[in-house]
């Protein structure tokens, strides 16, 4: 049978409870903070507070466990996102550091040109290093400028110091051009085993030949310095750019090479051996300048090393 009574009772129950809810809602909104329902709520919260506190304390291990699980899930997502961010930032950082280093090196080279004694009118061509030799025995670089840019054989190449802003010398001689194509050139560095440069200690004027110590790009040797000439640590060594009747140094006079770090004076030997820390950072050369023109009045008549 269709139970009308049950239906009525059900509908009445629903209506009563909905009406009650709406009445409470209306009364709650209508009354002030000190009204009946607000007071009832405050009272109930005071009653519930210790129960909730106890339950919260009792259930803390379970909550911690689920919290740990949730945190682990969240941490996995965060980990993914952070990894991507780290990757992106690392890439940006590398890019910025490269730009910064390039800028420093260019600034170093510009600063080098403005130094006292540096040869004027050399018409430098700035080039980027595109390859370098993998062996310590053959120290050479390939640059992205060639004969079409005015680069020729045996031209001097300069490079910046490792940190031109903090170093008292901003750069120095790096090597010479030993091979040229239309768009590239090969630079043999001072650290190459075959290299040798006529140089002079300033201001004493002691002359010698700068040769590399293979395997140690941070140390050059100024050899054949006469024993009687006084050389002290910390003095600067520059290219001598000497000129004789038939021969002349490849490098113009006055290009800084390095700083004297130690002097080996052997009484038996005729010559002193002077250790030099080069100004150019041979380990990290990214940008160089080829001096494509000799200073006016010093045209090359021949080739000689030293």
């Amino acid at each position: 049978m269709y139970d009308r009574k049950a239906v009525r009772r059900r509908r009445a129950a629903l209506a009563v409870f909905v009406a009650l809810s709406i009445a409470i809602l209306t009364a709650y909104f209508g009354e002030s903070g000190g009204g009946f329902f607000h007071a009832l709520q405050r009272g109930a919260q005071e009653v519930f507070a210790p129960i909730e506190s106890g339950a919260s304390r009792a259930l803390k291990p379970a909550r911690d466990f689920f919290g740990w699980a949730g945190d682990t899930i969240d941490a996995k997502d965060q980990n993914e996102a952070l990894r991507e961010e780290v990757e992106r930032l690392r890439s940006e950082l590398a890019d910025l550091q490269t730009r910064r280093r390039d800028t420093r090196q260019v600034n170093g080279l510009v600063g080098l040109h403005s130094q006292d004694g540096f040869p004027r009118g050399t018409r430098p061509v700035t080039a980027r290093v595109i390859a370098r030799s993998p062996s310590v025995w053959y120290s050479s670089l390939k640059i992205d400028k060639g004969s079409s840019d005015g680069v020729k054989l045996n031209q001097a190449v300069i490079a910046a110091a490792s940190d031109p802003s903090s170093d008292r010398a901003v750069g120095g001689l790096a090597g010479k051009v030993t091979r040229v194509t239309g768009g590239t050139a090969e630079v043999t560095l001072l650290t190459d085993a075959s290299s040798g440069v006529a140089a002079q200690v300033m201001p004493a004027g002691a002359a010698g030949v700068v040769k590399p110590e293979v395997g140690n790009p941070r140390d050059l040797l100024l050899d054949f310095v006469e024993g009687g000439r006084r050389v002290t640590e910390g003095t600067i060594v520059v290219t001598s750019g000497f000129k004789a009747s038939r021969v002349e140094s490849l490098f113009p006079r006055g290009i800084p090479i390095g700083e004297v770090t130690k002097v080996d004076l052997d009484e038996v030997e005729l010559y002193q051996r002077v250790h030099i820390r080069p100004f150019a950072d041979f380990r990290r050369i990214d940008i160089v300048q080829v001096l494509t023109r000799r200073p006016p009045g010093t045209e090359t008549a021949g080739v000689l090393l030293p």
């Binding site: 269709y2 009772r9 129950a13 009364a27 909104f29 109930a44 129960i51 339950a55």
Partner: protein
Amino acid sequence: MRVSPSALLRVGLLLLVAVVLQLSSLSQIGIAGGHADLVVLVVAAVAYYAGSVSGCAAGFAAGFLLDLASGATMGASSLVLTAVGYGVGRFREVRDPSHGLMPIPVGAAATAGWVVAFAAVSFMLDVGARVSPLVLRDMVVTVLLNALLSLPVFAGCRRLLRPVLRVDRLEARRRGRPATREAGPIGLRGMEV
């Protein structure tokens, strides 16, 4: 469900425990942005086993308790949970589903109705600020978590309420006896055999 002191005590205790657990623990366990909601599951379970009248009464009481304890707007939870309890109870009375996994869709649907209706009521009442789309994500997570919790919660409620139920349909079905059906509005149903 027979209205008796025992029944009132059991349902009252069930609702009280659910509200306390909800406020002291479950609300603080965030999983993927959302959290489980035990109160609506308990209301749905009471309605599912005891019928629509008991369901809407339990919904009203649970909402009242919840608003009292949480300090929320009084009456809002009662209104929505009354409707949820009534709806679940009617679903059971009209459809009389027999599948053992039925608590899962029932719990999920009840939760979905609860979160959506409560959001609508809250929005109409006193939410003046902009609502983030993340609210939708939290709602979905709550529905999914409640769906997972439905089976154990319904089983626990049934166990507690069984002594005071007029007819335990599942138990009757298990023993091979047809349950006595109450009269329904459709006519074909509700005829006692």
